[in-house]
């Protein structure tokens, strides 16, 4: 099973007490698969993961995109800029 680097920011970084971790993940995978895998690893943050988006190479992935060959993803929890 491939291992990818997962980066966290803001409330997720604080809740998990880390900005980054390595996670084994079945690929190819859709965005929802990645978020559910992370929620499984960190069940106390399930609601936050399931309201987050996944970004790869500085762009949001589409909900239906099949992602393969990943080495790094960013988890974008609900945003509040502006």
């Amino acid at each position: 099973m491939p291992v990818i680097q997962v980066n966290y920011y803001a409330q997720l970084r604080e809740a998990l007490k880390t900005g980054s971790e390595e996670v084994s993940l079945d690929l190819p995978a859709r965005e929802r698969d990645i978020l559910e895998r992370l929620a499984q690893l960190h069940p106390r943050q399930k609601a936050l993961f399931l309201s987050s988006r996944v970004a790869v190479d500085e762009g949001y992935v589409g909900a239906n995109a099949m992602l393969d060959g990943l080495c790094r993803v960013d988890i974008i929890s609900p945003i509040s800029g502006g």
Partner: protein
């Protein structure tokens, strides 16, 4: 190596910064210049006594998305120039968190472009704010689930 994007900044968006942005969008064909400031207010969603906000971002992604929003707005609305700055770090009550300067031939285009840009930044840019209260506590703003209105930035 390219210099870091100026869109996101730790520096205060003070009178000097606003004057710089005003100059940045100056254009002899402009009949309207609109400078929008978002500022820190003392309450939020039932929370009172907010004294500051603290911003963090996935900075490279946020700068790229804001630049794309500006480019797409320019393509859709006939404005002359657009300049955007968004604060990172701690921003005190009353200070500007974001400034959007737009010059256009007419006011309607300037208002429409400014509104479109702030609305999209709030829904798309990976930026987070923590509300700092007078009693010493703080909490991340609830925010909204990020989404992009345009398909070209989707993977």
């Amino acid at each position: 190596m390219e210099p870091p994007s100026p869109i996101l900044t730790q520096a205060p968006l003070d009178a000097a910064a606003l004057a710089d942005l005003r100059r940045e969008v100056a254009d002899p064909a402009a009949g309207a210049v609109l400078v929008f400031e978002g500022t820190v207010r003392d309450h939020s969603d039932g929370i009172e006594d907010v004294i500051a906000l603290e911003y963090e971002a996935q900075a490279s992604m946020a700068a790229k998305i804001i630049a794309a929003i500006v480019a797409e707005t320019r393509a859709e609305i006939p404005v002359r120039k657009i300049a955007v700055r968004h604060r990172l770090g701690r921003v005190e009550l009353g200070e500007a968190t974001i400034v959007i300067a737009v010059s256009a031939g007419h006011r309607d285009e300037a208002y429409r472009a400014s509104r479109a840009i702030i609305d999209r930044i709030k829904h798309e840019a990976p930026i987070w704010k923590r509300e700092i209260l007078r009693n010493g506590t703080s909490a991340w703003s609830r925010g909204c689930v990020a989404h992009q209105e345009k398909s070209q930035n989707e993977k």
